[in-house]
Amino acid sequence: MTRALISHGPMPGSTPVPDVDMGTTLGSLSLPAPILTASGCAAAGRELDQFFDITKIGAIVTKSVMLQPRSGRATPRMAETPSGMLNSIGLQGPGIEKFIEQDLAWLEERGARVIVSIAGDTVEDYGKLAARLRTVRSVAALEVNISCPNVADRGQVFACRASSAAEVVSAVRRHSDPRMPIIAKLSPDVTDIVEITDSVVRAGATGVSVINTVLGMVINTDTMRPHLAGVTGGLSGPAIRPVAVRCVWQIRQAFPDLPIIGMGGVRNGLDALEFVLAGANAVSVGTSVFHDPSAPARIQEELQRALGDRGFRRLADAVSYAHRSADVAREADDEFDFISE
């Protein structure tokens, strides 16, 4: 498939992209760039490849795949909300066999790096999915979706309890190659996200993805009924960005070296930079793709410019930079002579 964004390369009059090493690592996985798609917002990459070269971003994180085909929920599945949207898809998908045969095969042929998101109804499902993917060489890492809010029983949201979150992750770990990076995708709808992080790290997670959507609800004032067929749904988009940045910050404070994929309402390069400064090693772009299908490539270039503008030669130097002590920050600011009487 040919890409077709009309404005290729720098716009007339725009400055060249500064030379910044955008490479990043998630455990044993090295990526040439830090921008990823967010699971559930890019299908399996094929549709977006019409708008930008999917091999130029860090990786495609595929829509969560389950063992069996899944119809998803009834419609309406979506509502636009202020600077966000509510969705209630219910993990519609082809099931693992068809996913491997069609989607993964295409991604491999295309030469994209792939992080496969998996979801299950039970702990055993996750183990089986990991075992099935163990022999598929195009899988660069697993993202374990334990936080989809669109399930009938909220008690099934594994990420809402430390013990169930750990059970899933240890099942995936047990059935995976010991070198396979395993990233647990966490829910913000918990009292203490650091406690959940601690439990999944102890269970063998290489790192965490934060955040999944925030559980929300919209009532239609014409029908005077819940707008979504599934009643509740997941809130995403810029509306939840501060919640996501806070989660990344808290986890980074507690775990100085843990690989973190940050996401939640990233719309431009400065939004991505916020996550990096808070502690994210990589940043996923989700709902913004619905607004601008070329967003991941655009944001990656904007992030590179933003880093260059701030004097960074390496993305890695900017990761967690906001955590430096206030004294150090003040000294640095003095050097720039920012203080005016």
Binding site: A4, Q50, M85, I89, V151, F290
Partner: protein
């Protein structure tokens, strides 16, 4: 090939209850077929309205200095469509298209009936032209709640062999629904194919009438979409495949035009129990 372009607003004009927007859309208008649609970014780069709005391509033109342009028909339903019709000449607009599967045209010259509900008539203009070029007879029926909510009756009168109008309140044409007059039209012109665009209940009835008469129906649905390009999975409806299996298909990439006899119209808004991967007891 689908592209994303920075277009420009050329013109916004009133047409009854609707507005017609002309946009520069180089690379899109040249490839547009009847039934294709575009999505527009709403409210600029920092907009609080994240979701693109989808519109059937109404007309395309090749206009000298502007390259290709296209027209869409907008009904103001909320903040996003209000923002759109408030655009002025030369305002920039982000356009993605052409999107979706267009109407399938008959290989031979058969008689056709085109049915438009409200501004659902928008994609029927290009369709009527192309059917005529193929030697197909084209009869058109337009319906709406009131005369004001009909779109394009004058122009369609020129393109069609006959134009029949229905309004719910009888303010113009026959009082009643398009589907009241459709069987008579199909009988009169011995129609082999019916093309329709409009609200779901209208499409359902059109599909039923076509099936009763052993005619094909091609129905363009209007489902709420978030992305328009096939990645979000919000715009699905139950459709029976060649293999007899019902799947929840995306109206953006597998539609918006579906064979009327394939869509499970009565089940739209639900997941029928025999759908591939349908929830077992307890749901999901």
């Amino acid at each position: 090939m689908t592209v994303q372009v920075k277009g420009q607003v050329l013109d916004v004009r009133r047409a009854g209850a609707y507005h017609v927007l002309s946009l520069t859309a180089p690379g899109i208008s040249e490839k547009a077929k009847p039934g294709h649609f575009v999505t527009l970014g709403i409210g600029g780069e920092e907009s609080s309205m994240l979701l693109r709005r989808a519109f059937a391509i109404h007309q395309v033109h090749s206009r000298g200095v502007y390259g290709g342009t296209l027209d869409i028909v907008v009904g103001v339903h909320g903040k996003g469509t209000r923002w759109l019709v408030d655009r002025r000449r030369h305002d920039p607009i982000d356009i993605v298209g052409p999107l979706g599967r267009p109407f399938v045209l008959p290989k031979e010259s058969v008689a056709t009936v085109l049915v438009g509900g409200g501004y659902g008539s928008a994609p029927l203009f290009m369709l009527a032209e192309q059917l005529r070029e193929r030697g197909c007879r084209v009869d058109v029926v337009l319906g709406a709640a009131t005369e004001e909510r009909l779109f394009g009756s004058l122009e369609l009168k020129r393109l069609a062999s006959t134009l029949t109008i229905t309004t719910d309140d009888g303010s113009l044409g026959h009082r009643g629904r398009v589907t009241d007059v459709l069987p008579g039209l199909m009988e009169a012109n011995d129609a082999g194919v019916v093309y329709a665009c409009g609200p779901m209940p209208m499409l359902q009835r059109v599909a039923e009438i076509a099936a009763e008469r052993q005619a094909y129906s091609q129905c363009a649905v209007e489902e709420a979409m978030a992305c328009g390009v096939g990645v979000c999975m919000t715009c699905v409806l139950p459709v029976i495949g060649e293999d007899g299996v019902t799947r929840m298909l995306r109206s953006c990439t597998e539609g918006p035009v579906f064979r009327g006899d394939r869509v499970r119209w009565s089940d739209v808004g639900t997941v029928p129990a025999d759908t591939l991967g349908a929830p077992v007891a307890g749901g999901h």
